[in-house]
Point group: C2
Chain length 187, copies 2
Amino acid sequence: MIRVNQELLNYLIRLKDSGYQDSITEHTAGIGEKMLHQRTYIHSLYVIKEGLAKCFLTLDNGNDFIQEFFGAGEVFGEIELITGDISFCTIEAIIPTTYYQIPKAAFHQLLKDDAVFNTLLLRLLATNIRYAALRHSYNQTHNLEESLNRLKKEFPELLQKISKKDIANYLGISTRSLNRVLKEVSK
Amino acid sequence: MIRVNQELLNYLIRLKDSGYQDSITEHTAGIGEKMLHQRTYIHSLYVIKEGLAKCFLTLDNGNDFIQEFFGAGEVFGEIELITGDISFCTIEAIIPTTYYQIPKAAFHQLLKDDAVFNTLLLRLLATNIRYAALRHSYNQTHNLEESLNRLKKEFPELLQKISKKDIANYLGISTRSLNRVLKEVSK
DNA sequence: CGCGTAATTGAAAAGTATCAACACTGGTGG
DNA sequence: CCACCAGTGTTGATACTTTTCAATTACGCG
């Protein structure tokens, strides 16, 4: 649900303090502000320092599907920098958010020369694949009520922190269905 | 749908011919035979040389969800070797299949010492994340007929090569629904 | 206060699953 | 050679789930 990666964030802060002051810059985004746009070329890696953002795809029919919510330490842009393709999702702050930016060249240099960073990135990618596979499998093979209960169990503050619309887009359902199930459950 | 990775397969064959004869072994699997079992510890990386396999998760309620179909050059076991977790899916041959096995230690050594292999693996992970995200987003935000049409467009031989049951499990629907939509479309 | 956005709800329509019956196919053994 | 069997595929009827649409209410903020 809300992914974090404190280990990577710590490592990045250490890098910034030891010779990478210039190549690691810090930025902020207000609510609703996009830090990365779908279908554009990406020239940097980004890491969230603090805040909360949604990572979503806008489909050909205009629907949005939220891939994940990103908290501290979550990375975006890495897929695009590795494959060289244009971005396939948008990253948008849902609370005021600060994040680091690392230019493409510095990212590739780190990957090549810094074994620790290389390992952190491999682990990050592998963990994300695993997490997404489990989530999508669960949602495809269970009904709404079960998927929602699983979500609330994993992330109890769900309804306080994230709008109904975003929750619905995360589950791939209409807000009407979400409301119906929420009401059923509360009975 | 059916993923392949000829670049990685070629590189692996070259490795095997140049000093890795002993650590890269070749095996075969008949139809229905499992090459990797869900919820077990993994001690090797596997790469399909020739054939076709399904990668699927069995959920707590007994349902199967097919993550992907793997053709030549596709890799499995890499997520588990990187994260150290037990496997989250099963890999099962759906036609007679041959595959390479690379022990954990050799895999990690390659990752560390062979920059080309390291890059190939990063690209593989990034490509898989991207592909899965696009597929799941599409399926979540479109109806069955649209998802099926997209699938047939991407992979026209679909119905000849893969059983209805597997197609249904790939789309996360019942075979009854698949048949209904197929009949509607053919009208 | 007034505005825009988010949330809620009902009714009807559309989509999908479940269940059950039956057809087709490729083995296997008598 | 044929009867049988298990697995896969097909189809109809029905029940259930989810969406769509539209109307209303609640809420945060300038």
